[in-house]
Amino acid sequence: MTLFGIPILSFITFFPLAGLVLILFLPGRKEKAVKLTAAIVAGLEFLATLYLLTGFRVGSGEMQFVERAPWIKSLGVQYLMGLDGISLLLVLLTSLLSFIAILSSWNAVKSRLKEYYVFLLLLEVGMIGVFVSLDLILFYVFWEIVLVPMYFLIGIYGGERRLYAAIKFFLYTLFGSVLMLVGILVLFSRYHTFDWTAMLAMGSILPAALQTWVFLAFFVGFAIKVPMFPFHTWLPDAHVEAPTAGSVILAGVLLKMGAYGFVRFSLPLFPEAARRFVPLVAVLALISIVYGALVSLMQKDMKRLIAYSSVSHMGFVMLGLFAMTPLAVKGAVLQMVNHGVSTGALFLIVGVLYERRHTRLISEFGGLSSRMPVYAAVFLIITMSSIGLPGLNGFIGEFMILMGVFPVNAVWTAVAATGIILGAGYMLWLYQRVMFGKLQNPANESLKDLSLREFAVFLPLLLLAFGIGIFPKPFLNVLDKPVEKVIRIVNPEFYEREAAVPTVPADAEKPVVGKGGVR
């Protein structure tokens, strides 16, 4: 499939780059033109990614729209792109959140606009590239490209401690990724290719010890990005100091890159090592869930609270991925999207208040619902989505994960479930302290409700929250085959057991697995 004669995946990856170049040539004084161009580019990019749907074969677990060309021929590096259901959802999420991030910055950023939008668009190039690359070096290149604009977004447009947060973000994630690079090179020395599809076709040929080491190298790279306890310490700083749009992208997409790395590379390429590390990863995921939630409860700063809640939610995703059952993995991937939607929206919600009051301290607010009714409604819906109220998106993902983890280990499920309870605790308490009660702070008397533009920014996220919550089937259908493919590699016993014993114990999960639906 092509778009304007360019293969579709290349088009969606590099279209923001073209927009970026265009912006570079605009005079910096014409702020409106710069903003408008950036918004139009991001909007068109979103439409272009939607166009993918027209050619996407839902029932296939194979890579689609594959593009292949030699890049560094002598060393086996290819320009290899492809997309399956997992990538598709994340690509759509990326282009939507990038568009929203750019729209939401309309009034928030006042100085050095041109560079701001250049960084945001460059970020989009990197993120889309990560989700569609199938050559490991190409993947690595995009993975690293993401760091640079994010560093500048935090460092230039961030809060008080922005310099510290920016370099901390850069160094932490770079540390993880260079280890991954060494892992990639070790893989090459055995497979003699960087082609992911070729590696899968060859099966896991690494000796056990080497596989463990390479798995660990990738693990550190991805776990820092996710981030998992104990690699999460960069996240609160980066989230808090980043400008609103930066936080939206950071929480909405960048964290997903880590989780995506696990499901795309770690699980299928190192199945034996991955299985061996299930207990460790699960325990770390559980710690992330509970610890993230507990720390969220104690926060005074709204952004910090949401940042730690991300640690907790991403813990769910990791637990789901390493449960290695189709239900849990599908739930985990869906939960990546859900978390992007709800946490992205939450950062926007905080951004709205910050733009008006220039503070994010919870104690500064209270009783806002009387002044900002529309805002209150939006905030409430997103809060409910985040804590997993049935009918909204968060419920589907978390429920599927818990259902999928239960047959593997009931204790893990129980511990993870406490995370949901704690999650309801910190989110509702936040909502209560900010929105309810009496309006006591005189500074809040004159707060304006959401403008039409601001509401328009929230609208697609609200629709998605309801859409996934009420009718998740299309999303899950897209995931069915790709996830099955991963599970067949990393946990083939699951299907063998199911085929051999059609009654107990697979009975409990069978209807769910077969249909790919929850209820």
Partner: protein, 479 residues
């Protein structure tokens, strides 16, 4: 008839002869050109380097051996010569800026530069002990002069003297090593020595080898042979620092590769261990020392030491892909380093130049283009894609991993993280801090040219590395 025969005989040395003529012409122009003489000498020198580049294009790449087996002109040599010429040309361009501001232009340097480059380009071609030593000494002696030539600044003279004393010592060690190797075999040509050494007592051979190498390690500023480097790089006039931190290294790595392959191929196990240790030491020492520097020039001096360490990874990982990686990295490194030191020439302080890390504050507002160019170079230095620096490191690490030297790749990768921290102190100053202090930024055409050219090289070779890597790959075939 005889003249044409002579001309044909000199053809393999055409680039060197062009450089020699340029050096002589530059000297004359400087002496008789009056007040404008030095600047005109610079242009003559630059033109000579361009002409030498053109002469290089016509060189036979067949790998023919000339002059009683003392020189070989193959595409490996051509590659190194190109890198040396690029370093020289960038140096001259930066010199225009530096000496223009300082209002003191010693025109002799424009004659010394081509002379030093002759030493280096010949080094890339030698396959004989005597011509190796002569070429080595030619660029060594001129390097001491280039360092100390800037009499206005006492740091320059001090650095020149320091470089001279330590350099002579190391040349002496190297000569001793050569003498031992010669004594064991009675031959001076590499291939004859290699045949002779097979029967020699390996203790003597190893002693000779280590002494021989230590002279080369010294010139390449590998830890622990690096003690002179930070002082010399900091003290030398900035354009000369660009030259001294790039071109001699290209020459030395060329000699090392030829000697390792040509003479000591049978002792690979021994020198491989030595080089692994040196690479790790050099990378960590250079980067960790750079972390604490406040002076930009000294910081970049340590950074350039660390980069020698990366290149040594490729020497330790024996084989064609590794040598290709070395060539690629050396070439890219010339441009990265020229920009890294060249950016100092944007900062004015009083009559001269400011050298603080923070003195680039606010450059992004004043000149977004230059700031972007510098960021690209910094990313390349740190090895972040999509830059040539990343590709270079990728080639080096891949070669190392392929030979089972995973520890080298790991050390290199970690160093790339460490180095990012200090490189991005510059990025931070340019983009995130407001101008302050007594320094001021002053745009300058030569510096801008060098910065933008370097950034383009880093970016283009980062996206399409095959432009260079194919040539580099062909150059290392047939050793």
């Amino acid at each position: 008839m005889e003249i044409s025969a002579l001309a044909a005989g000199l053809k393999p040395l055409a680039p060197e002869i062009v450089l020699l003529l340029a050096a002589a012409a530059a000297l004359l122009v400087h002496l008789f050109g009056g007040r404008r003489g030095p600047r005109a000498a610079g242009w003559v020198s630059l033109a000579g380097m361009a002409a030498a580049g053109a002469a290089l294009a016509g060189a036979p790449l067949s790998g023919g051996v000339f002059y009683a087996g003392s020189l070989i002109v193959d595409s490996f040599a051509v590659f190194i010569k190109l890198a040396v010429l690029a370093a020289g040309a960038l140096t001259v361009v930066l010199s225009f800026r530096f000496f223009g501001v300082e209002r003191y232009e010693p025109g002799e340097i424009y004659a010394l530069l081509p002379l030093a480059m002759i030493g280096m380009t010949v080094s890339a071609s030698t396959v004989d002990l005597i011509s190796t030593y002569v070429a080595f000494e030619l660029f060594a002696v001129t390097s001491y002069l280039l360092t100390g030539m800037f009499k206005k600044d006492r740091r320059s003279s001090e650095a020149g003297i320091k470089y001279f004393f330590l350099g002579t010592l190391s040349s002496g060690l190297m000569l001793l090593g050569m003498a031992l190797v010669f004594g064991l075999t009675g031959e001076t040509s590499y291939s004859a020595i290699a045949r002779g050494l097979a029967a020699a007592d390996s203790h003597f051979v190893l002693t000779g080898m280590v002494l021989f190498f230590s002279g080369l390690f010294f010139k390449a500023a590998l830890v622990p042979f690096h003690m002179w480097a930070p002082d010399v790089y900091e003290g030398a006039p900035t354009p000369m620092t660009v030259f001294l931190s790039t071109a001699p290294k290209a020459a030395v790595f060329a000699i090392l590769i030829r000697v390792m392959v040509g003479i000591f191929a049978g002792f690979q196990a021994q020198w491989s261990i030595i080089l692994v240790c040196l690479a790790i030491l050099t990378m960590f020492w250079g980067n960790l020392a750079a972390l604490t520097q406040k002076n930009l020039k000294r910081m970049m001096a340590y950074s350039s030491i660390a980069h020698s360490g990366y290149i040594v990874i490729g020497l330790a990982a024996w084989g064609e892909p590794a040598r290709m990686a070395v060539l690629f990295y050396v070439f890219v490194y010339v441009f990265m380093n020229a920009a890294a030191f060249g950016l100092i020439l944007l900062v004015r302080k009083g009559e001269g130049f400011g050298e603080d890390v923070d003195s680039l504050r606010g450059l992004a507002r004043k000149s977004p283009l230059l700031a972007t160019a510098i960021v690209i170079v910094l990313l390349s230095l740190a090895g972040i894609p999509p830059t040539a620096g990343f590709m270079g490191k990728y080639f080096l690490f891949l070669a190392a991993v392929d030979k089972g030297l995973i520890v080298l790749a790991l050390a290199g990768a970690l160093n790339s993280v460490i180095s990012l921290f200090y490189y991005f102190r510059i990025g931070r100053a340019m983009f995130m801090e407001d101008p302050a202090g007594e320094t001021r930024l002053e745009s300058s055409l030569p510096v801008s040219l060098v910065l933008i050219a370097s950034a383009l090289v880093c970016l283009v070779l980062g996206v399409v590395p095959t432009l260079l890597s194919n040539f580099a790959g062909r150059s290392v075939l047939g050793f």
